[in-house]
């Protein structure tokens, strides 16, 4: 039995005296599509920040494919095969679409900090960048400055940057936020296509997206996971309903 | 020896107070507007020159009141008509604008008053010796400087802690965006803060002018030290700026006063280095000679080990 892709053991996060994550334990096996849902302020983005290394946990342990990565820097975790997208689009605004994706491709192809390889001659870099752009349907827009793209295009680019490195574990933080229905449908189809065979952890508010995509769902409320189960059971759970809708007076 | 210590302490504290007069304005401006005003020392210089010029026509006491008002007014105008426009281009252009402003102000000062020091003297009323410590006469003017600086701090403290504007400014020191969102007329407050900040620097210039040399290059000499003070104290912290000002003031003053070198130190233990060897220059250099670079050494050390400064809450 191989180690789970992500394993959280009693992870806590405090900012000053405010506890945001109060002891989360979770195991996500490789290849699973796992959604994290919960009311606003539950700490979903903070959880992502902890897993991806943006913050260090105040307590507890985080393991990636069995390896202890607690407290490692984001680039160290990224190099171990985890990649994440951001809720607020976090791209390289004045670089072109092409360059945005290419930057995400470089490390995984082993070019590191090389200043002796001419980047225009690297065929693999070009091929991989083209293929990613094709997958996210931005190849015709590759010369455009990323900052002037339309919102939905920027979200697609955000996903493109995330998957470009070929990481096996993908974290998507509210990828369809701010999108219309049709845009969200396209985004979901894209996500499904590009994360085939990988481990996907997704934070979402759109329940249609969640129930259509996820193998299992975790519900995060006030920094604690109150339920982790398959979608049907979560839908039926009283505790989850209370968390979202409040207690129904008897 | 004791005389040296006492006089140096007095001078060091005085120098520190002057630095704080300027550093407080700089901190206020940085905290509220996010701009590190490279030209801050230039306003200090303008204060000294305006003080000199006005005192030629109307006497020192008029200059003491009028010069800071004029310079603060110029500062407010600079904010209103220039800095505000540059602000939308981002932080780097803002910093570069103040850098260019410092350059231009120095050139204009040179143009109007020449490159040589001007004869800015203490008023006759204060031109006596306040007291004598051992064999040194401590001038009354310096005591006046100290007194003025303390009065201004008291006033500043009162305004900051007891008036509404003061509370807004305190809030903006740590949470500028939030203050803007609370609906305060931020542009007007900016203009006020920039004007007051530069006015404070000008006051420092007027009172320091007679004691230190008043010439066009004084901004370039004091400017970098000022940055050392605010960075060591922590950008955004007035208390930190206070501590750092005193620290740098004392370090520099004591440094200049001490004429000890490594040779003296190690010579006492019988370790010597021959005059021709490569180390001889470093060996024989005295602390007095190193004094000018001590603040920068401190700056680099602080930035390496404690980048937020002593009491800073804002990341640079």
């Amino acid at each position: 039995m191989s180690a789970p892709a992500i394993a959280l053991a009693a992870v806590e996060k405090r900012f000053g005296r405010t506890e945001i994550i109060r002891g989360v334990s979770l195991e996500i096996p490789a290849g699973e599509r796992h959604a994290v849902i919960g009311p606003n302020g539950a700490g979903k983005s903070t959880l992502f920040n902890l897993i991806s290394g943006r913050f260090a946990p105040s307590a507890g342990e985080i393991r990636l494919k069995g390896e202890n990565v607690t407290g490692l820097k984001p680039f160290e975790i990224n190099r171990r095969g985890l990649s994440r997208s951001f809720q607020v689009t976090n791209i390289f605004p004045r670089l072109s679409v092409w360059e945005n994706v290419r930057c995400a491709v470089l490390w995984s192809l082993g070019y590191r900090y090389s200043f002796w390889h001419g980047i225009d001659t690297l065929a693999e870099v070009r091929a991989r960048t083209e293929s990613i752009l094709e997958q996210i349907n931005l190849l015709p827009r590759r010369q455009v400055q990323a900052g002037v793209l339309a919102y939905a295009e920027q979200r697609a680019l955000e996903i493109g940057i995330t998957i470009a490195s070929g990481a096996e574990i993908i974290l998507l933080d509210e990828p369809t936020a701010g999108m219309s229905h049709s845009e969200a449908d396209q985004a979901v189809a894209l996500i499904r296509a590009v994360t085939r065979g990988k481990t996907l952890v997704i934070v979402e508010h759109d329940m249609a997206v969640v129930f259509g995509l996820a193998d299992r769902i975790s519900v995060l409320v006030y920094g604690e996971i109150i339920a982790t189960d398959v979608p049907e059971k979560i839908k039926a759970s009283k505790a989850v309903q209370e968390a979202y809708l409040g207690t129904v007076p008897a | 020896m004791l005389e040296l210590v006492i006089v140096s302490t007095l001078n060091g504290v005085l120098y520190g107070m002057l630095l704080f007069l300027m550093a407080s304005g700089l901190t206020l401006i940085f905290s509220m507007m996010g701009v590190l005003n490279f030209a801050h020392a230039s306003f200090y210089m303008l204060g000294a020159f305006f003080g000199y010029q006005i005192s030629q026509w109307a006497g020192f006491w008029v200059a003491l009141v009028l010069a800071p008002l004029l310079v603060g007014g110029i500062g407010a105008l600079v904010e209103r008509f220039a800095l505000r426009n540059v602000h939308r281009h981002g932080h780097v252009p803002e910093l570069l604008f103040t850098f260019g402003l410092a350059y231009v102000i120095e050139e204009v000062a040179q143009m109007v008053w020449g490159k040589l020091p001007v004869d800015f003297r203490a008023p006759a009323a204060l031109d006596f010796s306040a007291f004598t410590i051992f064999s040194t006469n401590y001038p009354a003017y310096k005591m006046f400087m100290l007194f003025t600086a303390i009065c201004i701090f008291a006033a500043l403290l009162a305004v900051l802690t007891r008036t509404r504007t003061g509370l807004i400014i305190q809030a903006a020191l740590t949470h500028p965006d939030m203050v803007a969102m609370l609906g305060h007329n931020v542009p007007r407050v900016f203009m006020l803060v920039f004007g007051v900040g530069t006015g404070l620097a000008a006051i420092a210039g007027v009172i320091a002018g007679p004691a230190l040399v008043t010439q066009a290059s004084m901004a370039g000499l004091l400017g970098p030290i000022l940055f050392v003070v605010v960075v060591i104290g922590g950008l955004g912290s007035l208390a930190g700026a206070f501590i750092a000002s005193l620290l740098i003031g004392l370090v520099q003053t004591f440094g200049v006063a001490l004429n000890v070198s490594l040779a003296d130190l190690f010579g006492a233990f019988g370790i010597t280095v021959g005059p021709g060897s490569a180390l001889s220059e470093i060996w024989t250099v005295t602390i007095a000679q190193i004094a000018p670079i001590l603040p920068y050494l401190l700056l680099v050390l602080v930035l390496i080990f404690r980048p937020t400064g002593l009491l800073g809450t804002r990341d640079t």
Binding site: I119, D120, Q145 | F99, W113, V285, L303
Partner: protein
């Protein structure tokens, strides 16, 4: 996002069209320009100025590796330039004393190595932080080095500096590099080599990630790169080229003193890079040429040329933060679409009051200078060959009228220029340009 990237207005480089545009043609043209230009400006003064430009181009390009490429604002870049110059000058003297067969054309490498080594040493402490902290550390380090020049007098030569003689080194093909023309070609050759090298570095993985770190150092972390490492590698590389520039200066002037490492020199390269335009590779080249020209020519025309320098810088920061290269790039899509000429009438209309306003301001400044600082020279002066008396009110009134009147008229022309731009833009879009 990094501070440098935060502003929406400060648009950065135009996305490079696959690198194919920057073909070999550009470099061949540059090489030809280097070859031809000394015969066009063949006077002694002309050759000297061209040599200075060559040195400044290398220095400013090296500075832009930090500012424009990686978003690192340094106030102390002259440290590496100056140290390169000092090591070069000491090397030349040592080589001459020991009679070693080292030609002067190899000396820039010494400067480069000095810049590289000190870039590594100082970079290890400076590059841990970005943004304002980095700028402050660079200022502190620059002051440290400049101040230690007074202490380490053996190396820095005190007030007189260190002198050398470039003709005493091993001649190459019969050339001893005494005459300025030979020195020019030495500088030009190194300048071209450095330009090609620095451009090539921008087309490498490191170069691309420097841009990424400039744009968004946090995101760069999440694609696997440590921004601190990127900065820590870029820093000594830029020091290397700065050191080469310093060595070229040492060869050219045959004297090096502590002003080479001073804040003034750091300020000049910052001005040059920014005026030229930090977002474009060619920007620093333009800036270096203009700044050198102004430094040499303006100082003959007026005693207060530094004031104009600072004013020019402020004008660029306020109204054209992308620099001259940015202004040119703005017109590039229009030129490609063939509609650039449509702007000419509007520009001419706008230019006239602008010229009047500028002349009026310059007149006022020059008169103020004569009135205040040079009162001992007497009240009579000549502006553009027109004699005037600064103690009379008439010239002042004329200056005020020109400045204020010019400004008001200039503002009236803006809508006209704007509509010309509008029409040209619409036509250009119709022809396929992305505007």
């Amino acid at each position: 996002m990094s501070e440098v990237a935060k502003s929406a207005d400060w648009t950065g480089p135009v996305p490079a069209a696959g690198g194919a545009l920057r073909g070999y043609a550009v470099w061949i043209a540059a090489a030809l320009a280097f070859l031809v230009v000394p015969y066009v400006f063949s006077s002694g003064a002309g050759l000297t100025m061209l040599s200075l430009m060559g040195i400044m181009i290398v220095f400013t390009l090296s500075y832009n590796m930090l500012l424009g490429q990686t978003g690192m604002l340094s106030f102390g870049h002259a440290v590496y330039y100056g140290l390169g110059a000092f090591f070069a000058v000491h090397a030349m003297n040592a080589v001459t004393r020991a009679g070693l067969p080292v030609p002067v054309i190899a000396i820039p490498l010494v400067g480069g190595l000095a810049g590289l080594v000190f870039g590594i040493i100082f970079g290890s402490v400076s590059t841990r932080r970005g943004g304002t902290a980095f700028a402050m550390i660079s200022l502190g380090l620059a002051e440290l080095v400049a101040s230690s020049a007074n202490i380490l007098r053996g190396f820095f030569g005190g007030e007189e500096g260190i002198t050398t003689n470039r003709t005493k080194l091993l001649p190459v093909l019969g050339l001893n590099f005494g005459p300025q023309l030979q020195v020019y070609f030495l500088i030009a050759a190194w300048c071209l080599l450095c330009m090609i090298a620095m451009y090539a570095i921008t087309r490498t993985p490191l170069g691309r990630m420097c841009n990424a770190v400039r744009e968004n150092p946090e995101r760069a972390q999440f694609v696997g790169y440590n921004p601190q490492t990127v900065r820590f590698i870029a820093f000594p590389l830029s020091g290397f080229f700065a050191g080469i520039a310093g060595a070229l200066a040492a060869i050219n002037f045959e004297i090096v003193n502590s002003s080479y490492v001073g804040l003034g020199q750091s300020g000049v390269v910052l001005l040059a890079a920014y005026i030229g335009g930090v977002g474009y590779f060619v920007g620093p080249v333009i800036g270096a040429i203009i700044v050198t020209y102004l430094q040499v020519m303006l100082s003959d025309v007026t005693a207060i040329w530094q004031l104009y320098f600072g004013l020019l810088f402020i004008v660029i920061v306020m109204f054209a933060p992308n620099g001259i290269a940015g202004l040119l790039a703005m017109h590039q899509p229009l030129w490609r679409a063939g509609v650039l000429h449509r702007l000419v009438p509007a520009y001419l209309v706008g230019l006239a009051p602008l010229a009047v306003m500028t002349l009026g301001a310059i007149l006022a400044i020059e008169m103020a200078h004569r009135f205040a600082a040079r009162a001992s020279d007497g009240p009579d002066m000549a502006f553009l060959r027109i004699p005037l008396d600064v103690t009379r009110p008439l010239p002042w009134l004329v200056a005020a009228a020109m400045t204020i009147g010019g400004l008001l008229l200039f503002r009236r022309t803006w809508p006209y220029v704007a509509s010309a731009w509008n029409e040209a833009t619409i036509t250009a879009r119709g022809r396929g340009e992305h505007l």
